[in-house]
Subunit: 513 residues, 2 copies
């Protein structure tokens, strides 16, 4: 950790309050899994998909567009490069990745207690990413602003079930395209002390991310430790573009983590079958991760997957249906066999509002991702409308689901207390357990308490105004923002960040492009 | 099948329409599973719970209340009977069950195409059960009537994802308590031709169920085949009462199936831990199923589980949280080890309305039950408010989830068509798959099409009136009821059923008790 970091937290009433706030939201920095992974395919099926992915890489190839340096790197490593089409000898990508990619890595947060580990039996829950719009009950659907962005950083900071601050939680469209990444990165640093994701929309924005991190963590620390994990989407099918390749190179060269994610609307950007889509996902991820390892062997890399199914009638993306679940289970197993961390979504859905459709689809995806063994769970909270909208109320609803995940993944407590034989001996037939010694002893920790569910009687619910879950979430998010207190940040670091941004912004032509 | 049965379906315009209707809703009679079960406990943990359940049966015992015959049966079999408390030597219940209980059985429907198989790798999806209230958007929450009951029988009949007509879908409280079972059984027979559940609220009502089935299927057929599967709840903790025991005896003696279900609000009716609750469930189910086998060895029996967690603050039941999921996974594994079919819920939730809370909780329970390997999925569709309310709109929403289950449980198609290598070869980098030969060839069957989700653009959704999922479901259920056409029923059988009911009802004092 940088020396600057040691100086933070300078007391005073607001510092104390901040500390109290932090301690109130104290949590594990990741979920450690004790239950098995759910696997839908046997060894032979997974091996067939691996063989087929190698066939895609060998016969069809992957396009690396508008990046001669990338083509040269791949050619030097032994790939067959024809124009921008790159074909890989069977097994080449896998052996490059397995030679140097870490099985797991620490992503450091400016608060060391929030530094997390990505990979292995761990699951890290991350807010949703990338929406141009926001929505709440009061204002409806509208373009997102930097104020919305800050609000979601604050809400994620205050949500004990979320281990991460996310990245482009929503697009602050009130700021110029070429400058808004400064304000997003700054907001993650200023309003939270959880780990976060970097900018990927241009190589120089990735570099700005790294430079701002160096102000916080120190130069040497950043060059030797992952303090960001950033999303490198493939341009499916079988294509990477220069924007993503450029950002990937910057991050890899600074030992920062990249999450290489085929972004698939199955049926449009991949075959209409589960096995075919999983094959293409594996081929694209192998090519992207191998490229990162060639740029800098040992740079942390995550096997990402985003797979929805398009409606064959309208071409619209659909979520929470069985085929994407089967793709997710399959891709997670393929990542484990490869030996790298795995990323997929969380609360995906196509609904316009946080209604029953949104919840069914989100829950189906989240349960699947949890049982499949996702390590980096992007889009855990807030997603609506296929990712076009970040919803305040949906964020609160999803955060409640996130809170449940550690209990599910921890599995069954088979300790003597867990077996509870004395409780049954004490209570016996026909009596109730509420007063039993064992019940009283376990009162505080027994059974998950939802932050949003109304489990009251119908009469009580009526008396409380017959609110639905979204209306209750609306009150909760406002109360949280009212209660928010920022984590301490060394004023010298803050000042340096503000100065860096001012200087960099001043160097740009003042237009919104 | 009875001879009477052969005579049904007598033509005419309405007969043709009925046949068309039936063919439109044609479906598999159960889901055949290809994917593995999800298991949260290892062999050693399951064996420990089995050992502990035997300790409960041996040391603590189970009460069999107000039924001297039951006590005598258990005593004769070697149990230690002290008053109404029955203690079982270690292993006794298990060996009784394993000696005679079938691993799976056919439940016959009056339409042989709808006869289903319960057990093994099959899952049968069944509507919700037992609500005194109904709810829809138009009428709000109100006491259920026989018209509501009929409506839900019709909706289940028309829902291809539901394999079963259910039992007491809602309580027709407009009919006298001592006579309403006639109208419920008659409605299942008249308005559907899927299998159904019998009355259990008194031994003579169970007998009426059997007698009415004999009119439909013939005496001999009923005595030798399961045409009903009926719910025998334990009065947890560790108690069976004379009502349930009486009904169980009637069904068992007629070779009809019973679903022996510990009904547990964990923390109140069982210990506050997962392992403790699973232990008690196993002990109660073992005792109940062994009793059924002693009454009539070989009578079909199902290991049932209903487990919610009570709020430690209010005592209210809560659903869709991780602990009941872990209990469900554990109980399913215990049933498999015992070698009997397993029953659990479906779309359980505590919400008052079909909102996001209802959907999250229902989806969490349904996904868990599906992956756990539930054979008889009671409460798949319609449940609200902890079972107090049967909701028209929730039924439609849940039926959509039910439709997805066969696809999920079928798993990944690894055929050549499933692998889709030619689709990737034909399309190649950067192009879309919508026009590919493979996509066109699989257009009809590719990807689940939701009956309720709105996957349209935001603008289209606005133009369509900004309806939420519940509002859309409201329109759908009304259209379905408007479109309903009854399956053909032999007029002679219908007449005989009406006459039987009239005679039986006339023999009762005309009071509502």
């Amino acid at each position: 950790m940088s020396e600057r970091k040691g100086r933070r937290g300078g007391g005073g009433r607001s510092g104390k309050r901040a500390a109290r706030q932090i301690s109130q939201t104290k949590q594990a920095a990741y979920i450690e899994r004790n239950i098995p992974y759910f696997e839908v395919l046997e060894e032979s099926g997974l091996a067939q998909i691996e063989y087929n992915a190698d066939t895609v890489l060998e016969e069809i190839g992957i396009e690396f567009r508008d990046d001669p340096e990338a083509l040269q790197i791949l050619k030097d490593a032994g790939a067959d490069v024809q124009g921008e089409l790159v074909r890989f000898p069977r097994g080449m990508c896998r052996s490059i990745i397995q030679a140097s990619a870490p099985k797991e890595f620490t992503q450091h947060a400016r608060n060391p207690e929030n530094s997390t580990i990505i990979g292995g039996k761990r699951t890290v829950l991350v807010p949703a990413y990338g929406s141009p719009f926001v929505r709440d009950l009061d204002g409806g659907r509208r373009y997102a602003t930097i104020e919305d962005f800050r609000n979601f950083v604050k809400l994620a900071y205050m949500s004990p079930g979320l281990h991460h601050s996310g990245g482009t939680i929503c697009e602050p469209v009130d700021l110029p395209v070429n400058k808004r990444h400064f304000d997003m990165i700054y907001s993650h640093i200023k309003y939270s002390d959880k780990p976060f994701m970097g900018s990927v929309t241009a190589p120089e924005r990735a570099q700005d991310t790294v430079d701002m991190c160096k102000i916080v963590f120190g130069d040497e620390f950043v060059d030797n430790n992952a303090v960001t994990a950033s999303l490198i989407n493939a341009n499916s099918p079988m294509t990477f573009d220069d924007t993503m390749l450029g950002a990937a190179k910057v991050y890899a060269r600074h030992n920062q983590a990249t999450v290489v994610s085929p972004f698939i609307l199955a049926g449009a950007m991949s075959p209409v079958t589960v096995a075919g889509t999983a094959t293409q996902i594996l081929a694209e991820a192998l090519a992207g991760m191998a490229f990162v390892q060639l740029v800098n062997p040992g740079a942390p890399v995550v096997f990402g997957t985003f797979a929805a199914a398009v409606s064959m009638q309208t071409g619209a993306p659909t979520f929470g249906t069985p085929e994407p679940s089967l793709i997710l289970y399959t891709a997670a197993a393929l990542a484990r066999r490869l030996g790298v961390p795995f990323r997929s979504g969380g609360g995906l859905n196509a609904s316009k509002i946080p209604d029953a459709q949104a919840a069914y689809e989100s829950a189906n995806t989240l349960q699947t991702a949890a049982l499949a063994g996702v390590n980096f769970m992007l889009h855990t909270a807030g997603w609506l409308e296929g990712g076009l909208v970040m919803s305040y109320e949906k964020f609160i609803l999803d955060a409640d689901q996130a809170n449940m995940m550690p209990i599910l993944l921890k599995g069954v407590d088979m300790s003597e207390n867990g077996q509870a034989m004395d409780a049954m001996r004490e209570t016996g037939p026909g009596n109730h357990f509420l007063g039993a010694t064992h019940t009283q002893a376990n009162f505080e920790t027994a059974f998950y308490r939802s932050t949003i569910a109304d489990n009251n009687s119908f009469e009580q619910w009526q008396e409380d105004g017959e609110l639905d879950a979204t209306q209750r979430a609306n009150k909760i998010y406002k109360q949280m923002l009212a209660d928010y207190e920022a984590p301490a940040l060394d004023p010298a670091i803050d000042e340096a960040l503000v100065e860096y941004m001012a200087t960099r912004k001043a160097s740009f032509p003042d237009k919104d492009y």
